[in-house]
Protein backbone atom coordinates (compact mmCIF):
# COMPACT_ATOMS: atom_id res chain seq x y z
CA UNK A 1 0.00 0.00 0.00
CA UNK A 2 1.36 3.42 -0.97
CA UNK A 3 0.67 5.41 2.17
CA UNK A 4 1.56 8.65 0.42
CA UNK A 5 -1.24 8.23 -2.10
CA UNK A 6 -3.86 6.19 -0.24
CA UNK A 7 -7.14 7.73 0.92
CA UNK A 8 -8.39 7.70 4.51
CA UNK A 9 -10.97 5.04 3.62
CA UNK A 10 -8.32 2.78 2.06
CA UNK A 11 -5.92 3.07 5.00
CA UNK A 12 -8.64 2.75 7.66
CA UNK A 13 -10.02 -0.34 5.90
CA UNK A 14 -6.52 -1.85 5.72
CA UNK A 15 -5.95 -1.13 9.41
CA UNK A 16 -9.33 -2.58 10.37
CA UNK A 17 -8.73 -5.73 8.32
CA UNK A 18 -5.18 -5.99 9.78
CA UNK A 19 -3.45 -5.76 6.39
CA UNK A 20 -1.36 -3.06 8.01
CA UNK A 21 -1.21 -2.05 11.66
CA UNK A 22 -1.89 1.41 13.04
CA UNK A 23 1.61 1.23 14.53
CA UNK A 24 3.18 0.67 11.09
CA UNK A 25 1.25 3.59 9.60
CA UNK A 26 2.25 5.79 12.55
CA UNK A 27 5.92 4.78 12.32
CA UNK A 28 5.95 5.52 8.59
CA UNK A 29 4.73 9.08 9.13
CA UNK A 30 6.84 9.70 12.24
CA UNK A 31 9.92 8.90 10.19
CA UNK A 32 8.75 11.36 7.52
CA UNK A 33 8.36 14.04 10.20
CA UNK A 34 11.88 13.29 11.41
CA UNK A 35 13.24 13.59 7.88
CA UNK A 36 11.26 16.59 6.64
CA UNK A 37 10.62 18.76 9.69
CA UNK A 38 14.17 20.18 9.80
CA UNK A 39 13.54 21.51 6.27
CA UNK A 40 10.05 22.91 6.86
CA UNK A 41 9.60 23.62 10.60
CA UNK A 42 5.97 22.52 10.32
CA UNK A 43 5.79 20.82 13.72
CA UNK A 44 6.25 22.66 17.00
CA UNK A 45 5.84 19.50 19.11
CA UNK A 46 5.87 15.83 18.14
CA UNK A 47 3.89 13.51 20.40
CA UNK A 48 5.94 10.95 22.28
CA UNK A 49 2.74 9.01 22.86
CA UNK A 50 1.90 8.45 19.18
CA UNK A 51 3.14 4.86 19.01
CA UNK A 52 1.39 3.96 22.27
CA UNK A 53 -1.83 5.54 20.95
CA UNK A 54 -1.50 3.49 17.75
CA UNK A 55 -0.96 0.33 19.79
CA UNK A 56 -4.20 1.04 21.56
CA UNK A 57 -6.05 1.29 18.24
CA UNK A 58 -4.51 -2.02 17.11
CA UNK A 59 -5.52 -3.61 20.41
CA UNK A 60 -9.11 -2.43 19.97
CA UNK A 61 -9.17 -3.95 16.50
CA UNK A 62 -7.72 -7.25 17.71
CA UNK A 63 -10.43 -7.39 20.36
CA UNK A 64 -13.05 -6.54 17.68
CA UNK A 65 -14.04 -3.45 19.68
CA UNK A 66 -15.95 -0.73 17.90
CA UNK A 67 -13.54 1.45 15.93
CA UNK A 68 -14.32 4.59 13.97
CA UNK A 69 -13.94 5.58 10.31
CA UNK A 70 -10.51 7.18 10.88
CA UNK A 71 -8.94 4.02 12.35
CA UNK A 72 -5.16 4.42 12.37
CA UNK A 73 -5.12 7.68 10.37
CA UNK A 74 -2.25 9.89 11.62
CA UNK A 75 -3.21 13.53 12.14
CA UNK A 76 -1.32 16.71 12.91
CA UNK A 77 -3.20 19.34 14.89
CA UNK A 78 -2.75 23.08 14.69
CA UNK A 79 -1.30 24.33 17.96
CA UNK A 80 -4.48 26.34 18.66
CA UNK A 81 -6.33 23.19 19.75
CA UNK A 82 -5.81 21.81 23.25
CA UNK A 83 -4.43 18.29 23.39
CA UNK A 84 -4.47 16.52 26.73
CA UNK A 85 -0.96 16.08 28.08
CA UNK A 86 0.57 17.43 24.84
CA UNK A 87 2.01 20.95 24.84
CA UNK A 88 -0.23 23.55 23.17
CA UNK A 89 1.47 26.88 22.45
CA UNK A 90 -0.77 28.84 20.04
CA UNK A 91 2.57 29.74 18.42
CA UNK A 92 3.28 32.09 21.34
CA UNK A 93 5.92 32.59 23.99
CA UNK A 94 2.94 33.22 26.28
CA UNK A 95 1.99 29.53 26.12
CA UNK A 96 5.44 28.06 25.50
CA UNK A 97 5.09 25.59 28.39
CA UNK A 98 1.32 25.12 28.51
CA UNK A 99 0.20 21.49 28.84
CA UNK A 100 -3.60 21.24 28.65
CA UNK A 101 -5.38 18.97 31.13
CA UNK A 102 -8.05 18.21 28.52
CA UNK A 103 -8.67 17.67 24.80
CA UNK A 104 -10.51 20.13 22.57
CA UNK A 105 -13.79 18.56 21.42
CA UNK A 106 -12.43 18.35 17.85
CA UNK A 107 -9.39 16.39 19.09
CA UNK A 108 -11.51 14.14 21.31
CA UNK A 109 -13.81 13.37 18.37
CA UNK A 110 -10.88 12.60 16.05
CA UNK A 111 -9.47 10.23 18.67
CA UNK A 112 -12.79 8.48 19.18
CA UNK A 113 -13.00 8.07 15.38
CA UNK A 114 -9.71 6.15 15.63
CA UNK A 115 -7.25 8.85 14.50
CA UNK A 116 -3.72 9.01 15.94
CA UNK A 117 -2.38 12.42 16.97
CA UNK A 118 1.26 12.76 15.84
CA UNK A 119 1.89 16.27 17.06
CA UNK A 120 1.20 19.97 17.03
CA UNK A 121 1.61 22.22 14.02
CA UNK A 122 3.20 25.60 13.58
CA UNK A 123 1.06 28.70 13.08
CA UNK A 124 1.06 32.45 13.35
CA UNK A 125 1.02 33.58 16.97
CA UNK A 126 -2.55 33.22 18.30
CA UNK A 127 -3.53 32.67 14.63
CA UNK A 128 -2.87 36.34 13.86
CA UNK A 129 -1.16 36.46 10.49
CA UNK A 130 -1.33 35.18 6.92
CA UNK A 131 2.21 33.93 6.46
CA UNK A 132 3.24 31.97 9.56
CA UNK A 133 5.89 34.65 10.09
CA UNK A 134 4.52 35.77 13.45
CA UNK A 135 5.12 32.38 15.10
CA UNK A 136 7.35 32.51 18.19
CA UNK A 137 8.76 29.16 17.01
CA UNK A 138 10.09 30.46 13.70
CA UNK A 139 8.81 30.46 10.14
CA UNK A 140 7.29 27.38 8.66
CA UNK A 141 8.28 27.08 5.00
CA UNK A 142 6.33 26.23 1.85
CA UNK A 143 7.24 22.70 0.65
CA UNK A 144 6.76 23.72 -3.00
CA UNK A 145 9.52 26.31 -2.64
CA UNK A 146 11.15 26.96 0.71
CA UNK A 147 11.82 30.62 -0.13
CA UNK A 148 8.07 31.18 0.06
CA UNK A 149 5.62 31.30 2.95
CA UNK A 150 3.16 28.42 3.42
CA UNK A 151 0.43 30.97 4.19
CA UNK A 152 -1.25 31.39 7.51
CA UNK A 153 -2.27 31.30 10.04
CA UNK A 154 -2.53 27.47 9.70
CA UNK A 155 0.80 27.37 7.82
CA UNK A 156 2.17 24.33 9.64
CA UNK A 157 -0.97 22.34 8.87
CA UNK A 158 -0.77 23.20 5.16
CA UNK A 159 2.97 22.53 4.86
CA UNK A 160 2.85 19.23 6.80
CA UNK A 161 -0.08 18.06 4.71
CA UNK A 162 1.44 19.06 1.35
CA UNK A 163 4.72 17.32 2.24
CA UNK A 164 2.76 14.26 3.57
CA UNK A 165 4.31 14.35 7.00
CA UNK A 166 0.88 13.20 8.19
CA UNK A 167 -2.23 11.90 6.45
CA UNK A 168 -4.51 14.66 7.70
CA UNK A 169 -4.42 17.93 9.59
CA UNK A 170 -6.77 20.26 11.41
CA UNK A 171 -6.57 24.03 11.08
CA UNK A 172 -8.58 26.96 12.39
CA UNK A 173 -10.02 29.80 10.34
CA UNK A 174 -10.98 33.25 11.64
CA UNK A 175 -10.56 35.24 8.42
CA UNK A 176 -9.13 32.71 5.97
CA UNK A 177 -6.57 30.83 8.04
CA UNK A 178 -7.60 27.40 6.70
CA UNK A 179 -8.35 28.38 3.11
CA UNK A 180 -5.43 30.70 2.29
CA UNK A 181 -2.63 28.30 3.40
CA UNK A 182 -4.51 25.42 1.74
CA UNK A 183 -4.42 27.43 -1.48
CA UNK A 184 -0.73 28.33 -1.04
CA UNK A 185 0.27 24.69 -0.43
CA UNK A 186 -2.07 22.94 -2.87
CA UNK A 187 -4.34 21.05 -0.47
CA UNK A 188 -8.07 20.93 0.30
CA UNK A 189 -9.24 23.02 3.27
CA UNK A 190 -12.72 23.65 4.65
CA UNK A 191 -13.95 26.27 7.05
CA UNK A 192 -17.32 24.94 8.16
CA UNK A 193 -20.39 27.07 8.83
CA UNK A 194 -20.16 28.96 12.12
CA UNK A 195 -21.72 26.67 14.71
CA UNK A 196 -20.96 23.42 12.88
CA UNK A 197 -17.83 22.57 14.85
CA UNK A 198 -17.30 22.99 18.58
CA UNK A 199 -14.83 25.64 19.67
CA UNK A 200 -14.41 24.05 23.09
CA UNK A 201 -10.71 23.73 23.85
CA UNK A 202 -9.60 25.91 20.96
CA UNK A 203 -7.48 28.88 22.04
CA UNK A 204 -9.90 31.77 21.54
CA UNK A 205 -8.99 34.48 19.03
CA UNK A 206 -12.27 36.01 17.78
CA UNK A 207 -15.13 33.94 19.16
CA UNK A 208 -17.81 35.01 16.67
CA UNK A 209 -15.56 34.16 13.69
CA UNK A 210 -13.40 31.16 14.73
CA UNK A 211 -14.08 27.70 13.30
CA UNK A 212 -11.88 24.61 13.01
CA UNK A 213 -11.85 22.35 9.98
CA UNK A 214 -9.93 19.72 8.01
CA UNK A 215 -6.91 20.50 5.83
CA UNK A 216 -6.26 17.35 3.82
CA UNK A 217 -5.31 15.98 0.40
CA UNK A 218 -8.66 15.19 -1.18
CA UNK A 219 -12.28 16.31 -1.03
CA UNK A 220 -13.31 12.81 0.04
CA UNK A 221 -10.87 12.84 2.98
CA UNK A 222 -12.17 16.32 3.86
CA UNK A 223 -15.78 15.11 3.86
CA UNK A 224 -14.94 12.13 6.07
CA UNK A 225 -12.98 14.23 8.55
CA UNK A 226 -15.62 16.95 8.64
CA UNK A 227 -18.46 14.60 9.51
CA UNK A 228 -16.30 13.12 12.29
CA UNK A 229 -15.74 16.46 14.03
CA UNK A 230 -19.07 18.27 13.39
CA UNK A 231 -22.14 18.45 15.55
CA UNK A 232 -23.57 19.81 18.74
CA UNK A 233 -21.38 19.91 21.82
CA UNK A 234 -22.75 20.65 25.28
CA UNK A 235 -19.48 22.47 26.03
CA UNK A 236 -20.05 25.11 23.31
CA UNK A 237 -23.46 26.77 23.38
CA UNK A 238 -22.91 28.22 19.89
CA UNK A 239 -22.78 24.78 18.26
CA UNK A 240 -25.84 23.98 16.19
CA UNK A 241 -28.15 21.12 17.09
CA UNK A 242 -28.80 20.44 13.39
CA UNK A 243 -28.18 16.86 12.31
CA UNK A 244 -24.82 16.28 10.64
CA UNK A 245 -25.23 14.72 7.20
CA UNK A 246 -22.91 11.98 6.03
CA UNK A 247 -20.89 14.30 3.81
CA UNK A 248 -18.67 11.49 2.52
CA UNK A 249 -21.53 9.15 1.57
CA UNK A 250 -23.45 12.00 -0.07
CA UNK A 251 -20.42 13.19 -2.00
CA UNK A 252 -21.43 13.54 -5.65
CA UNK A 253 -19.30 15.16 -8.31
CA UNK A 254 -22.20 15.37 -10.75
CA UNK A 255 -22.94 19.08 -10.69
CA UNK A 256 -25.14 19.27 -13.76
CA UNK A 257 -27.63 22.11 -13.39
CA UNK A 258 -26.07 23.52 -10.25
CA UNK A 259 -26.13 27.30 -10.13
CA UNK A 260 -22.82 28.87 -9.25
CA UNK A 261 -22.71 32.54 -8.33
CA UNK A 262 -20.06 34.77 -9.85
CA UNK A 263 -19.33 37.60 -7.49
CA UNK A 264 -19.74 40.94 -9.25
CA UNK A 265 -17.37 42.53 -6.72
CA UNK A 266 -14.65 40.05 -7.70
CA UNK A 267 -12.77 42.72 -9.62
CA UNK A 268 -12.13 44.62 -6.36
CA UNK A 269 -9.18 42.39 -5.60
CA UNK A 270 -6.02 43.18 -7.53
CA UNK A 271 -5.76 39.71 -8.99
CA UNK A 272 -2.45 38.39 -10.26
CA UNK A 273 -2.64 37.18 -13.91
CA UNK A 274 -1.66 33.60 -12.91
CA UNK A 275 -4.58 33.47 -10.48
CA UNK A 276 -6.93 35.03 -13.04
CA UNK A 277 -5.97 32.42 -15.62
CA UNK A 278 -6.47 29.53 -13.19
CA UNK A 279 -9.81 30.95 -12.11
CA UNK A 280 -11.05 31.32 -15.70
CA UNK A 281 -9.94 27.77 -16.44
CA UNK A 282 -11.90 26.51 -13.44
CA UNK A 283 -15.01 28.32 -14.69
CA UNK A 284 -14.60 26.77 -18.16
CA UNK A 285 -14.27 23.30 -16.66
CA UNK A 286 -17.29 23.74 -14.42
CA UNK A 287 -19.30 24.86 -17.45
CA UNK A 288 -18.24 21.72 -19.33
CA UNK A 289 -19.38 19.68 -16.33
CA UNK A 290 -22.84 21.22 -16.64
CA UNK A 291 -22.79 24.00 -14.05
CA UNK A 292 -24.73 27.18 -14.75
CA UNK A 293 -23.44 30.59 -13.78
CA UNK A 294 -25.38 33.52 -12.42
CA UNK A 295 -23.93 36.90 -11.63
CA UNK A 296 -24.63 37.90 -8.07
CA UNK A 297 -23.77 40.99 -6.09
CA UNK A 298 -22.67 41.29 -2.47
CA UNK A 299 -21.86 44.97 -2.46
CA UNK A 300 -20.55 45.11 1.10
CA UNK A 301 -17.70 42.71 0.26
CA UNK A 302 -15.87 45.92 -0.50
CA UNK A 303 -15.79 46.68 3.23
CA UNK A 304 -15.17 43.15 4.47
CA UNK A 305 -11.48 43.57 5.29
CA UNK A 306 -11.68 46.66 7.53
CA UNK A 307 -14.87 45.25 9.12
CA UNK A 308 -13.11 41.98 9.78
CA UNK A 309 -10.02 43.57 11.31
CA UNK A 310 -12.05 45.72 13.58
CA UNK A 311 -14.33 42.95 14.85
CA UNK A 312 -11.60 40.33 15.15
CA UNK A 313 -9.22 42.71 16.95
CA UNK A 314 -11.97 43.78 19.35
CA UNK A 315 -12.87 40.21 20.24
CA UNK A 316 -9.17 39.30 20.48
CA UNK A 317 -8.42 42.14 22.88
CA UNK A 318 -11.15 40.79 25.14
CA UNK A 319 -10.23 37.10 24.75
CA UNK A 320 -6.52 37.70 25.34
CA UNK A 321 -7.18 39.59 28.56
CA UNK A 322 -7.01 36.20 30.30
CA UNK A 323 -3.22 36.03 29.92
CA UNK A 324 -2.30 37.55 33.25
CA UNK A 325 0.75 35.53 34.28
CA UNK A 326 -1.07 33.98 37.23
CA UNK A 327 -3.05 30.85 36.34
CA UNK A 328 -1.02 29.62 33.39
CA UNK A 329 1.36 30.91 30.75
CA UNK A 330 4.38 33.16 30.81
CA UNK A 331 5.17 35.43 33.77
CA UNK A 332 7.72 38.25 33.70
CA UNK A 333 10.42 38.21 36.36
CA UNK A 334 11.10 41.26 38.51
CA UNK A 335 14.38 42.07 40.21
CA UNK A 336 12.87 44.60 42.54
CA UNK A 337 9.50 43.46 43.85
CA UNK A 338 9.20 46.29 46.38
CA UNK A 339 8.36 48.96 43.80
CA UNK A 340 6.25 46.73 41.54
CA UNK A 341 2.52 47.46 41.24
CA UNK A 342 -0.14 45.00 40.10
CA UNK A 343 -0.46 46.91 36.81
CA UNK A 344 3.32 46.67 36.30
CA UNK A 345 3.08 42.93 36.87
CA UNK A 346 0.40 42.50 34.20
CA UNK A 347 1.86 44.98 31.69
CA UNK A 348 5.37 43.57 31.91
CA UNK A 349 4.13 39.96 31.63
CA UNK A 350 1.92 40.75 28.63
CA UNK A 351 4.47 43.08 27.03
CA UNK A 352 7.13 40.35 27.09
CA UNK A 353 4.84 37.38 26.46
CA UNK A 354 3.06 38.63 23.32
CA UNK A 355 4.71 39.28 19.97
CA UNK A 356 4.41 42.47 17.90
CA UNK A 357 1.45 41.45 15.73
CA UNK A 358 -0.58 40.24 18.70
CA UNK A 359 0.10 43.46 20.60
CA UNK A 360 -0.86 45.50 17.53
CA UNK A 361 -4.25 43.78 17.38
CA UNK A 362 -4.85 44.02 21.12
CA UNK A 363 -4.14 47.75 20.82
CA UNK A 364 -6.54 48.16 17.90
CA UNK A 365 -9.25 46.14 19.63
CA UNK A 366 -8.85 47.92 22.95
CA UNK A 367 -9.18 51.27 21.20
CA UNK A 368 -12.31 50.16 19.31
CA UNK A 369 -13.98 48.93 22.49
CA UNK A 370 -12.95 51.84 24.67
CA UNK A 371 -15.32 54.42 26.07
CA UNK A 372 -16.32 56.97 23.43
CA UNK A 373 -15.33 54.74 20.50
CA UNK A 374 -17.45 51.62 21.00
CA UNK A 375 -20.46 52.89 19.04
CA UNK A 376 -18.43 54.36 16.20
CA UNK A 377 -16.33 51.26 15.70
CA UNK A 378 -17.42 47.94 17.21
CA UNK A 379 -21.15 48.59 17.12
CA UNK A 380 -21.01 50.11 13.64
CA UNK A 381 -19.04 47.14 12.33
CA UNK A 382 -21.63 44.78 13.85
CA UNK A 383 -24.46 46.64 12.11
CA UNK A 384 -22.73 46.51 8.73
CA UNK A 385 -21.95 42.86 9.42
CA UNK A 386 -25.69 42.11 9.63
CA UNK A 387 -26.23 43.94 6.34
CA UNK A 388 -23.46 41.85 4.76
CA UNK A 389 -25.02 38.62 6.03
CA UNK A 390 -28.41 39.67 4.63
CA UNK A 391 -26.86 40.47 1.24
CA UNK A 392 -25.37 36.98 1.17
CA UNK A 393 -28.74 35.46 2.09
CA UNK A 394 -30.27 37.25 -0.90
CA UNK A 395 -27.45 36.07 -3.15
CA UNK A 396 -28.03 32.47 -2.07
CA UNK A 397 -31.64 32.73 -3.22
CA UNK A 398 -30.22 32.81 -6.75
CA UNK A 399 -27.38 30.30 -6.52
CA UNK A 400 -26.16 27.13 -4.81
CA UNK A 401 -22.63 28.35 -4.13
CA UNK A 402 -20.37 31.32 -4.84
CA UNK A 403 -17.00 30.98 -6.56
CA UNK A 404 -13.90 33.21 -6.52
CA UNK A 405 -10.15 32.83 -6.21
CA UNK A 406 -9.01 32.17 -2.61
CA UNK A 407 -6.45 34.95 -2.61
CA UNK A 408 -5.28 37.58 -5.05
CA UNK A 409 -1.94 35.83 -5.66
CA UNK A 410 -0.08 32.58 -5.09
CA UNK A 411 2.28 32.30 -2.09
CA UNK A 412 4.61 35.26 -1.57
CA UNK A 413 8.24 35.28 -0.50
CA UNK A 414 9.26 35.27 3.14
CA UNK A 415 9.52 38.86 4.49
CA UNK A 416 8.02 40.20 1.24
CA UNK A 417 4.88 41.54 2.88
CA UNK A 418 5.42 41.43 6.59
CA UNK A 419 6.45 45.08 6.88
CA UNK A 420 3.11 46.41 5.71
CA UNK A 421 0.20 44.99 7.71
CA UNK A 422 -2.46 46.65 5.60
CA UNK A 423 -1.28 45.17 2.30
CA UNK A 424 -1.12 41.83 4.04
CA UNK A 425 -4.66 42.34 5.30
CA UNK A 426 -6.01 43.21 1.84
CA UNK A 427 -5.08 39.77 0.52
CA UNK A 428 -7.86 38.42 2.69
CA UNK A 429 -10.63 40.15 0.73
CA UNK A 430 -12.30 36.95 -0.54
CA UNK A 431 -11.98 34.85 2.60
CA UNK A 432 -12.98 37.26 5.40
CA UNK A 433 -16.57 37.74 4.17
CA UNK A 434 -17.38 34.07 4.78
CA UNK A 435 -16.37 34.36 8.45
CA UNK A 436 -18.28 37.60 8.96
CA UNK A 437 -21.45 36.08 7.49
CA UNK A 438 -20.83 32.68 9.15
CA UNK A 439 -20.82 30.86 5.79
CA UNK A 440 -19.06 27.64 4.85
CA UNK A 441 -15.94 28.16 2.71
CA UNK A 442 -13.54 25.84 0.98
CA UNK A 443 -10.28 25.94 -0.95
CA UNK A 444 -9.71 23.39 -3.71
CA UNK A 445 -6.35 23.17 -5.52
CA UNK A 446 -6.74 23.90 -9.20
CA UNK A 447 -3.45 24.75 -10.84
CA UNK A 448 -0.07 26.38 -10.50
CA UNK A 449 1.48 29.79 -10.98
CA UNK A 450 4.20 30.39 -13.58
CA UNK A 451 6.68 29.79 -10.74
CA UNK A 452 5.14 26.41 -9.94
CA UNK A 453 3.31 27.46 -6.78
CA UNK A 454 -0.20 26.09 -6.15
CA UNK A 455 -3.37 28.13 -6.70
CA UNK A 456 -6.72 27.32 -5.10
CA UNK A 457 -10.33 28.04 -6.00
CA UNK A 458 -12.64 29.38 -3.31
CA UNK A 459 -16.17 28.02 -2.93
CA UNK A 460 -18.62 29.56 -0.49
CA UNK A 461 -21.81 27.81 0.58
CA UNK A 462 -24.88 28.91 2.46
CA UNK A 463 -25.25 28.25 6.20
CA UNK A 464 -24.97 24.52 6.98
CA UNK A 465 -24.73 23.70 3.28
CA UNK A 466 -21.21 22.23 3.24
CA UNK A 467 -22.43 19.40 1.02
CA UNK A 468 -22.88 21.57 -2.08
CA UNK A 469 -19.40 23.07 -1.91
CA UNK A 470 -17.93 19.63 -1.24
CA UNK A 471 -19.72 18.34 -4.36
CA UNK A 472 -18.52 21.23 -6.52
CA UNK A 473 -15.07 20.75 -4.99
CA UNK A 474 -15.14 17.07 -5.96
CA UNK A 475 -16.09 18.04 -9.50
CA UNK A 476 -13.23 20.54 -9.72
CA UNK A 477 -10.83 18.01 -8.24
CA UNK A 478 -11.79 15.42 -10.86
CA UNK A 479 -10.60 17.68 -13.68
CA UNK A 480 -7.79 19.63 -11.98
CA UNK A 481 -4.96 17.19 -12.60
CA UNK A 482 -3.04 18.74 -9.70
CA UNK A 483 -2.87 15.57 -7.61
CA UNK A 484 -0.14 14.04 -9.79
CA UNK A 485 2.36 16.75 -8.87
CA UNK A 486 4.27 16.58 -5.62
CA UNK A 487 6.09 19.43 -3.87
CA UNK A 488 9.83 19.95 -3.83
CA UNK A 489 10.11 18.90 -0.17
CA UNK A 490 8.32 15.54 -0.10
Amino acid sequence: MDLLKASFVEVADAVKSKKISAVEVTQFFLSRIEKLNPQLNAFITVSEKAIADAQEVDLKISKSDCIGPLAGIPFGIKDMLCTKGLRTTAGSKMLENFIPPYDATVVARLKSAGAIILGKLNQDEFAMGSSNETSYFGNCLNPWNTEYVPGGSSGGSAAAQAARMVMGTIGTDTGGSIRQPSSFCGIVGIKPTYGRVSRYGIVAFASSLDQAGPMVTSVQDAALTLESICGHDSMDSTTSQKAVPSFSKNLNSNIKGMKIGLLKEYSLGKIHPDVEQTYQKALEQLKLLGAEFVEISVGLTEFAVPMYYLISASEASSNLARYDGVKYGFRAQFNDLSSMTLDDFYAETRGQGFGTEVKRRIMLGTHCLSSGYYDAYYNKAGQVRRMLRDQYAQAFEQCDAIISPVTTSAAFKIKERSSDPLTMYMNDIFTTSANLAGLAGMSVPFGFSSLGLPIGIHLVGSHFDEQKILNIGAALESVSGTREKTPHVY
Binding site: Y194, S237, L337, G382, V384, R385, L422
Partner: protein, 93 residues
Protein backbone atom coordinates in the same frame (compact mmCIF):
# COMPACT_ATOMS: atom_id res chain seq x y z
CA UNK B 1 -4.26 60.40 13.40
CA UNK B 2 -3.69 58.63 16.67
CA UNK B 3 -1.12 60.53 18.72
CA UNK B 4 1.45 59.17 21.16
CA UNK B 5 -0.65 60.14 24.16
CA UNK B 6 -3.62 58.13 22.88
CA UNK B 7 -1.39 55.12 22.21
CA UNK B 8 -0.03 55.31 25.74
CA UNK B 9 -3.60 55.48 27.05
CA UNK B 10 -4.66 52.43 24.99
CA UNK B 11 -1.60 50.48 26.18
CA UNK B 12 -2.56 51.30 29.76
CA UNK B 13 -6.13 50.09 29.19
CA UNK B 14 -4.83 46.90 27.55
CA UNK B 15 -2.29 46.37 30.33
CA UNK B 16 0.52 46.09 27.82
CA UNK B 17 4.00 47.49 28.26
CA UNK B 18 5.20 48.78 24.91
CA UNK B 19 8.49 50.47 24.14
CA UNK B 20 8.91 53.90 22.47
CA UNK B 21 9.54 52.45 18.98
CA UNK B 22 6.39 50.30 19.28
CA UNK B 23 4.43 53.36 20.44
CA UNK B 24 5.46 55.20 17.30
CA UNK B 25 4.84 52.21 14.99
CA UNK B 26 1.44 51.31 16.45
CA UNK B 27 0.33 54.94 16.26
CA UNK B 28 1.09 55.04 12.56
CA UNK B 29 -0.44 51.65 11.77
CA UNK B 30 -3.58 52.06 13.86
CA UNK B 31 -4.26 55.40 12.17
CA UNK B 32 -3.95 53.70 8.80
CA UNK B 33 -6.34 50.87 9.68
CA UNK B 34 -8.87 53.24 11.25
CA UNK B 35 -8.71 55.58 8.25
CA UNK B 36 -9.61 52.60 6.14
CA UNK B 37 -12.59 52.06 8.40
CA UNK B 38 -13.85 55.58 7.71
CA UNK B 39 -15.50 54.21 4.54
CA UNK B 40 -17.75 52.09 6.74
CA UNK B 41 -18.72 55.05 8.89
CA UNK B 42 -20.51 56.52 5.85
CA UNK B 43 -22.88 53.53 5.46
CA UNK B 44 -26.39 54.23 6.74
CA UNK B 45 -27.13 51.70 9.48
CA UNK B 46 -30.11 53.41 11.09
CA UNK B 47 -32.27 50.95 13.01
CA UNK B 48 -30.04 47.94 12.33
CA UNK B 49 -29.27 45.60 15.19
CA UNK B 50 -25.56 44.71 15.35
CA UNK B 51 -24.86 41.09 14.40
CA UNK B 52 -22.77 39.15 16.89
CA UNK B 53 -23.44 35.46 16.25
CA UNK B 54 -23.60 35.00 12.48
CA UNK B 55 -25.77 31.86 12.33
CA UNK B 56 -29.13 31.21 13.96
CA UNK B 57 -28.29 29.22 17.05
CA UNK B 58 -30.99 27.57 19.11
CA UNK B 59 -30.55 28.54 22.69
CA UNK B 60 -28.95 25.74 24.61
CA UNK B 61 -27.95 25.48 28.24
CA UNK B 62 -26.44 22.54 30.03
CA UNK B 63 -27.97 21.35 33.24
CA UNK B 64 -26.29 23.02 36.16
CA UNK B 65 -24.63 19.97 37.65
CA UNK B 66 -21.47 19.59 39.68
CA UNK B 67 -18.78 17.85 37.63
CA UNK B 68 -15.50 16.93 39.26
CA UNK B 69 -13.52 16.62 36.06
CA UNK B 70 -10.23 17.90 37.41
CA UNK B 71 -8.26 17.74 40.62
CA UNK B 72 -6.92 20.89 42.25
CA UNK B 73 -3.40 19.72 41.35
CA UNK B 74 -4.38 19.57 37.67
CA UNK B 75 -5.91 23.03 37.81
CA UNK B 76 -2.73 24.62 39.16
CA UNK B 77 -0.33 22.42 37.16
CA UNK B 78 0.34 25.14 34.56
CA UNK B 79 0.79 28.02 36.99
CA UNK B 80 4.11 29.89 36.63
CA UNK B 81 4.43 29.65 40.42
CA UNK B 82 2.36 27.66 42.87
CA UNK B 83 2.28 26.66 46.52
CA UNK B 84 0.53 23.34 46.94
CA UNK B 85 -2.94 23.76 45.50
CA UNK B 86 -2.67 27.54 45.34
CA UNK B 87 -1.57 30.01 42.69
CA UNK B 88 1.39 31.96 44.00
CA UNK B 89 1.78 35.65 43.17
CA UNK B 90 4.31 38.28 44.27
CA UNK B 91 3.16 40.80 46.90
CA UNK B 92 1.41 43.62 45.04
CA UNK B 93 -0.12 45.73 47.80
Amino acid sequence: MIDQKTIEHIAKLAKLKINPSETEEYGRQLSKVLNHFEQIAKIDTTGIEPLVTPTDIDFFAREDLVANDYTAEQMVSNAPEKAGQLFKVPPVV
